[in-house]
């Protein structure tokens, strides 16, 4: 017993557990930036500084390296503590860079080294990343917290998506869908969430969806909870340029998959229960309920159909139609699985929407 206990103590020292990582002596990269500048790979690290003598509470380091790990070694040269990536919150990639380069191979170290965090948000930044990393916003907390809060809360309202490194890896790896990430930019010196960035199946940036289109992507992905809000024009009903705001509270999205005449056919059936959250337009909703519902259904249909057209045009499938193809038409899927984007582009997708107003709000 005593010998075993002694052995255990000795073994503990052997295993390398003695190497500690004291919080005080770390430079924790919280936001990792990747960008290019004339063919060079620039890697940015933004980390908090815990020292009362330091004027700035965030330290930003820019290095030029051929890979992230090499970048970290270079960052170590500048950083006052040991550079570590265990708490990375955001990985920000410049749009220009993502357009040129397939990013998955660069992100490899984040997945391979278990000490790195894989729950960091993947964000495409429209503009030079340097500008974001070095921005100082007096009305915002530390950069990493500000970015993360911005994306997470905007994603709740469906105007952007929430995709972390693991989500990105999964959607990239799955042949039935293509990855996507949140997108942000800066406007008037302030950072803002800016819809969704879509990637192809190699992980190269293809196109973006605006904050107005993103809710319908989420609808197609069945990400309805807690609600999908949007505003539509009521010109069709009143003839004037007026608004009505609705929010999809619950809904059913069903996919029917067939293979006919050498191509896939998808039929998307959306049953949406909506509530009216704001009514500027002068509509007597008690009388025109049917028309209103029809108009809302039409709006959803138009938007989703346009969205699907965009996807097909760019040969991307962030919704995951391929998953249904694989589930229902496996033989045909098997033939095209390695080039699903092209097969999806040729597919027929029809959408039909039924909307039901479940609440008109508290006042009439």
């Amino acid at each position: 017993m005593k010998a075993a206990a002694l052995l255990l103590c000795v073994a503990l020292f052997l295993s390398g557990c003695g190497m500690n990582t004291k919080l005080d002596s770390l430079t924790m990269t919280l936001t990792l930036g990747l960008d290019t500048d004339g063919g060079k790979l620039l890697s940015y690290s933004s980390s908090p500084v815990f020292n009362k003598d330091a004027k700035e509470h965030t330290e930003v380091i820019e290095v030029n390296a051929s890979s992230l790990r090499e970048g970290r070694y270079k960052i170590d040269l500048f950083a006052s503590g040991r550079a570590v990536g265990g708490k990375i919150q955001n990985v920000v990639i410049g749009k220009a860079f993502a357009k040129k380069k397939e990013i998955p191979s660069l992100l490899d170290v984040l997945y391979r080294d278990p000490k790195n965090s894989t729950t960091a948000l993947l964000i495409v930044y429209d503009g030079p990343v340097k500008e974001l990393m070095e921005s100082k916003q007096k009305d915002k907390p530390r950069l990493a917290v500000a970015i993360k809060d911005l994306i997470m809360t905007t994603a709740v309202d469906k105007q952007t998506v929430k995709a972390n490194l693991l989500d990105f890896h999964r959607t990239l790896f799955d042949k039935g869908c293509t990855p996507f990430a949140s997108e942000m930019t800066r406007k008037n010196g302030k950072m803002m969430a800016n819809g969704t960035a879509l990637f192809d199946n190699k992980g190269k940036y293809i196109t973006s969806l605006s904050p107005k289109e993103t809710p319908f992507l989420q609808l197609l992905r069945k990400e309805i909870k807690p609600a999908i809000p949007f505003t539509l024009r009521t010109a069709a009903l009143t003839g004037k340029k007026e608004n009505i705001s609705v929010s999809i509270e619950h809904g059913k999205v069903r996919y029917e998959t067939r293979y006919r005449n050498g191509r896939f056919q998808f039929h998307v059936q959306i049953d949406a229960g909506v509530i009216i959250t704001e009514k500027i337009a002068d509509i007597d909703i008690s009388k025109k309920q049917k028309q209103l519902e029809k108009m809302i259904a039409h709006e959803i249909k138009t938007k989703t159909t346009a969205l699907v057209k965009t996807f097909q045009h760019h040969h991307v499938d962030p919704v995951g139609f391929g998953l249904y193809a694989r589930a229902y038409e496996y033989d045909h899927w098997k033939k095209v699985e390695n080039d699903w984007g092209k097969a999806f582009a040729a597919a027929d997708v029809s959408v039909s929407v039924k909307a039901k107003v479940i609440s008109y709000g508290v006042i009439h």
Partner: protein, 483 residues
């Protein structure tokens, strides 16, 4: 040595036996009716003078008529004994009894006139309770046994009296329910007490250390309590109560680990509340042992464990602190232990001052001076509160002690060290025995039926059998009275 028959010889023997004893009263009287001299001997300091005057002297002088021997002497004392051994006379005098010698008689009369200084029965100081009785044990074993008997007017409640200590001659009484307590457990306890060969046992705590199973364990294996109701509740579970004369706490054996976390109030409050409180205590136990070490581990090894906002807060609060986390933690923990100890030994009015000074110094000044971080103060405070929630003082102290090795292993090996510390703790608790019964019962060995009264407390009517931890020979406690 026999008692001499002539009073002159008796007086000489008294002189020889008690040389320097100013409080010894030797009172020679001539009882007219008896036509004989008698001699009354007692220790002034231990005997009750009223009782001697009214119940011994008065009847002796005025109501004795024609007694010819000791048995016929009139005294108003219920408990009288006869002896012809001088050693018994000696013991009796030291117990506060008075001894009556009659000229020409070989026998002496031992009269129960005890009246030593004792305090009144008062509220228990250490284990206060909200709904329990407000009577606590005092320093006289007879009174203590009386307090227990009041709860169990039952002939199965047996009292076995032993004398411990060559000089102290402490009366140690073993109380048990004959039809419940396992005879082997009783015999084991009795044997252990009989084996004790010391000068004196001043306190129950001393007796406990002399007979406990594993003196190298940080955990107490017997319970000391000053509450009669707690003692009775344990008697009913088949345990043995050891009442030590001159000590205000009684010892309960055998004990199980979980019973140290139960109070008498648990049974008098409703079961949901009692369960909540017990879960709270279990949580407090783990907090008291592991919170400082978790803090150290998180700061020195596993910064990834902390959520982002917390890590920023911790980092900011530590930005001035010059000490590594382990020193910071040990400094604060020692400070709080010193405060506690200082407050404990000081008289109440000064004790408060210590609390205020300590609170201000530790809570405010140390943080402002940048010696320790805010978060550390919070951790230490929660830990201290956690350790105070544990109802038994002995267990609470054990937990406070274990915290330090835990902090050291966690500063060396992080969470892995903590996990190993926990494993060693669990292994130790599972191996520990109390009077040969498993200390970890009902968890080690697993006795599911007894889990009703552990970290949760089922409604009273569902606990129909006595817990197995003390190996009771009669299991049934009550019948099913409710659905």
């Amino acid at each position: 040595m026999w008692i001499p028959s002539s009073l002159a010889e008796v007086e000489a023997t008294i002189q020889a036996t008690w040389g320097e004893t100013p409080d010894l009263v030797v009172c020679r009287l001539n009882v007219r009716q008896l036509k004989k001299d008698v001699l009354l001997l007692y220790l002034d300091s231990l005997a009750d003078k009223n009782s001697i005057n009214n119940n011994v002297l008065q009847p002796l002088l005025f109501e004795t008529h024609d007694a010819t021997n000791v048995e016929e002497v009139a005294v108003l004392i219920g408990q009288k004994k006869y002896t012809n051994l001088w050693s018994e006379v000696e013991t009796a005098v030291f117990q506060g009894e008075s001894v009556l010698f009659i000229d020409g008689e070989q026998q002496a009369l031992l009269l129960d006139t005890q009246g030593w200084p004792q305090r009144a029965i008062a509220e228990p100081q250490v284990e206060s309770s909200i709904k329990g009785a407000h009577q606590g044990f005092i320093e006289t074993s007879g009174k203590n046994i009386a307090l227990i008997r009041r709860y169990l007017p039952n002939r199965e409640l047996k009292v076995k009296e032993l004398i411990v200590g060559r000089r102290g001659k402490t009366k140690v009484a073993l109380l048990y329910l004959e039809d419940v307590t396992h005879p082997e457990v009783l015999k084991e306890l009795e044997d252990r007490i009989r084996m004790i060969d010391v000068d004196a046992v001043v306190n129950t705590g001393e007796l406990m250390q002399l007979i406990e199973d594993n003196p190298f364990s940080p955990f107490p294996q017997f319970l000391l309590t000053e509450r009669p109701d707690a003692a009775v509740s344990n008697l009913l579970q088949g345990r043995i109560v050891v009442v030590v004369d001159r000590s205000p706490s009684v010892m309960i054996a055998p004990m199980s680990f979980i019973a140290f976390f139960q109070t008498i109030d648990d049974y008098s409050t409703r079961w949901m509340i009692a369960t909540f409180l017990r879960l709270l205590r279990t949580l407090a136990f783990f907090i008291a042992i592991f919170l400082p070490s978790l803090y150290i581990a998180a700061i020195s090894f596993h910064y990834e464990l902390l959520p982002l906002n917390l890590i920023l807060t911790v980092g900011e609060s530590r930005e001035q602190v010059p000490l590594p986390p382990i020193l910071e933690a040990i400094l604060m923990e020692l400070a709080i232990e010193m405060l506690r100890e200082a407050g404990l030994r000081l008289p109440a009015p000064i004790g408060q001052t210590v609390g205020i000074v300590g609170g201000v110094v530790i809570g405010q000044a140390a943080v402002q001076a940048g010696l320790v971080s805010n978060i550390m103060v919070v951790v230490v405070a929660i830990t201290a509160i956690g350790s105070f929630i544990i109802p038994n003082p002995d267990m609470s102290e054990s937990v406070r002690l274990i915290r330090f090795p835990m902090m050291i292993v966690s500063s060396l090996f992080g969470v892995i060290g903590m996990a190993i510390g926990l494993m060693i703790l669990v292994i130790h608790l599972a191996c520990l025995e109390s009077l040969g019964t498993p200390f970890g019962s009902p968890f080690a060995p697993v006795r599911f039926r007894d889990w009703k009264d552990t970290v949760v407390r089922f409604p009273l009517w569902t606990m129909r059998s006595r817990p197995l931890s003390a190996h009771p020979i009669q299991l049934k406690r009550q019948t099913k009275t409710r659905k």
